[in-house]
């Protein structure tokens, strides 16, 4: 019999978690903070304070209150009856699409805006690709009365006019990123450059589990509410906390990090990360980073990224704007390399038809990002008594034009 009291033993087990970030900011071989010296004070300030701040009772209380009353949490864990019948397994959908602003992104921006306030920052910057994180950031800045500057690729600004309008209505300044390929990676570069130029009063709200440590861990913790809820919701519905499978789409990987978080060290839970294959992995128009990427440095993090043999970062492609990031968060790179998670890639075509199927089967129009996770049923057979949780990360309103064009609606 162990002489270590149970609660202490639990803590020790927690400390030994191998799939969470280590004390140096690494997930296995990935992570770290590969940043220019100009960013060091900002990142160091955050690194030394984020855990302490997140654990303050007043912080927790305000975070939980806002998630409940403002965001609308907990989001339902919905048993998808018709989908379950069709695929002869038990399918649950975690309804992040029902959050205020339409996706999981707001979990993180609420957390980070409170963090920014604790750090005494009064100017907020963010990057955005399709505009979802930009809208979620503009929303919380309006809520807190803070100045908000969102960097967005010039090309994305043209493609995502409604989200640009939303951000403007919410009081944000949208700055076009005109460098490089003029998309998400360049918007991120511009936000980082802004932070270099404004080191004192500015907090950078990164939208995914990417960037230098502590961002991947901090964002994962803010998103971990997703799996925290799944656990008690599943306990209520099925009498157990752990599903057989938890499945999420991965671009940078924030919704997946949140859905996987409390299951990372539960080996009985199978983790599946779904990447965007675009037009197909071998077509040159893809965003399947685990299949096409190599180890390298992007946006201050050592991870897998799509690049030329010469180390120049390449532009990915997916029909889903939220998945076409050339890298992937370091946690996911580690889950891939260690074999802890299974990585599957889904083409535009399969994702679009899975999205339409969810509309018809369950009356839910999903974001195209989330549709990639739903397409898992084309790739994988589950047992009838398997409990399969799919993180429905966002709603499809923002994608209506893409759906219209694709299906000639």
């Amino acid at each position: 019999m162990s002489i270590i009291p149970h609660n202490i033993a639990n803590i020790i087990v927690k400390e030994m978690k191998s799939y969470h970030v280590d004390e140096n900011g690494y997930y296995g071989d990935f992570g770290g903070a590969y940043i220019p010296e100009m960013l060091y004070p900002n990142v160091e300030e955050l690194r030394t304070q984020y855990l302490e701040i997140m654990n303050e009772p007043s912080f927790k209380e305000e975070f939980e209150q806002l998630l409940k009353d403002y965001v609308g949490r907990p989001t339902p864990l919905y048993y998808a009856k018709r989908l379950s019948e069709k695929y002869n397994t038990k399918v649950y959908l975690k309804r992040e699409d029902l959050n205020h602003t339409g996706a999981h992104k707001v979990n993180n921006t609420i957390g980070q805006i409170l963090m920014a306030k604790k750090l005494g920052k009064n100017r907020i910057i963010a990057e955005t690709g399709a505009g979802q994180h930009g809208v979620a950031t503009a929303t919380v800045c309006a809520l807190m009365g803070l100045e908000c500057i969102v960097y967005m690729g010039e090309i994305d600004i043209k493609r995502q006019a409604p989200n640009v309008a939303r951000m403007k209505m919410l009081g944000a300044t949208v700055v076009p990123a005109t460098s490089g390929s003029k998309t998400l990676k360049d918007a991120t570069n511009e936000a980082i450059r802004d932070w270099i130029n404004n080191p004192i009063d500015t907090h950078y709200i990164i939208g995914s589990v990417v960037g230098p440590h502590p961002y991947p861990d901090m964002v994962a913790r803010f998103q971990s509410i997703i799996s925290e809820e799944i656990k008690w919701q599943l306990q209520q519905k099925e009498g157990r906390e752990n599903p057989d499978y938890v499945i999420a789409c991965v671009g940078g990987g924030s919704n997946a990090a949140g859905a996987f978080y409390h299951y990372l060290d539960q080996p009985n839970v199978n983790i599946i990360a779904v990447e965007a294959a675009g037009k197909g992995i071998d077509t040159g128009e893809s965003a399947a980073t685990s299949a096409l990427g190599k180890e390298g440095i992007i946006h201050g993090s050592k991870t897998l990224l799509m690049q030329t043999p010469d180390g120049q970062i390449t532009e990915p492609y997916s029909i889903s704007a939220g998945l076409d990031y050339p890298g992937v968060g370091p946690m996911h790179a580690h889950l891939f390399k260690s074999g802890r998670a299974e990585f599957v890639s889904i083409t535009d075509a399969d994702a679009m038809s899975a999205g339409l199927e969810l509309c018809k089967q369950e009356g839910i129009i999903p974001a195209i990002e989330s549709s990639h996770a739903l397409a898992i049923f084309d790739k994988k057979q589950f047992n009838p008594d398997d409990i399969v949780v799919i993180n429905l990360s966002g709603r499809g309103d923002k994608d209506l034009n893409t759906y219209i064009d694709y299906f000639n609606l």
């Binding site: 940043i35 220019p36 010296e37 100009m38 004070p41 490089g180």
Partner: protein, 253 residues
């Protein structure tokens, strides 16, 4: 002794020039280096272009994008430089981001630099701690001097640490900013320059970012050992081409 260390011992204020390899045209590298030396420049930073240069302002970004479009690669740069030591004797430093070096292989990259006669590296996104733990022995093995940056926000403790592991010079970033030309420095810079001078560091400091003309060069080198000009030189190249390098250098000193 490494060429950088020798140069730092000379009793003069040093002028270092940065340019992006492969810009304006793919084969301009050698002529630019030779003309800079001919015109009395003390040290040269050869920029290895990168698709995502986080620490750089618009001028160097644009030159990097153009250089990559022109077809510049790590391999090609090494090929262009292979006989450089037959004609050029001033210190040569490669400045670039870490990812292309990782893809080439850090050790292979260092070995190639040593073979060519490159004296040092500046890698803005390789933090000093990471270098110290994982790469310093490789750099030392190939006799390469790595250079670290400090900024007005860098703490005294960290500056001391950086000073301690620097065996060449400290790259003193003039202000909280990305690279880019400024026409004057204000009182903030002056007091920062004085504060660093008062620290009596063992490694000489060379100021970069925002040096563009005789006035800013003069201000920066009042206390520091030298200054680096990048964006202003790139602008000159894009306006006047590579046959007017002497005219630019003469305006500085």
């Amino acid at each position: 002794m490494n060429r950088i260390q020798q140069k730092l011992q000379e009793d003069k204020k040093l002028l270092s020039i940065y340019f992006t390899a492969g810009y304006p045209s793919i084969n301009d590298t050698l002529q630019i280096i030779k003309d800079l030396e001919k015109n009395g420049v003390d040290m040269i930073e050869i920029g290895l272009p990168f698709s995502d240069p986080l620490a750089d302002g618009p001028t160097i970004q644009a030159s990097s994008t153009q250089a990559l479009k022109n077809g510049m690669t790590t391999e090609l740069l090494f090929e262009q430089l292979k006989d450089i030591r037959k004609t050029v004797s001033i210190p040569l430093i490669i400045m670039g981001y870490f990812n292309p070096m990782m893809q080439y292989g850090v050790e292979a990259f260092c070995a190639k630099c040593a073979e060519i006669g490159i004296d040092g590296l500046i890698i803005p996104d390789l933090p000093v701690d990471e270098y110290h733990q994982h790469y310093q022995t490789i750099f030392d093995q190939y006799g390469l001097i790595n250079t670290f940056l400090i900024t007005p926000q860098t703490s005294e403790k960290r500056i001391r640490f950086i000073d301690n592991i620097s065996n060449g010079f400290i790259y003193m970033v003039s202000s909280a900013s990305t690279t880019g030309a400024k026409s004057t420095f204000g009182s903030t810079q002056a007091s920062y320059f004085e504060r660093i001078a008062a620290m009596q560091l063992k490694a000489p400091q060379i100021v970069g970012f925002g040096i563009s003309n005789a006035a800013t060069f003069e201000q920066a080198t009042t206390t520091a050992k030298g200054a680096i000009i990048g964006s202003a030189f790139i602008k000159h190249l894009s306006n006047y081409g590579i046959n007017a390098i002497g005219e630019f250098i003469q305006t500085i000193r």
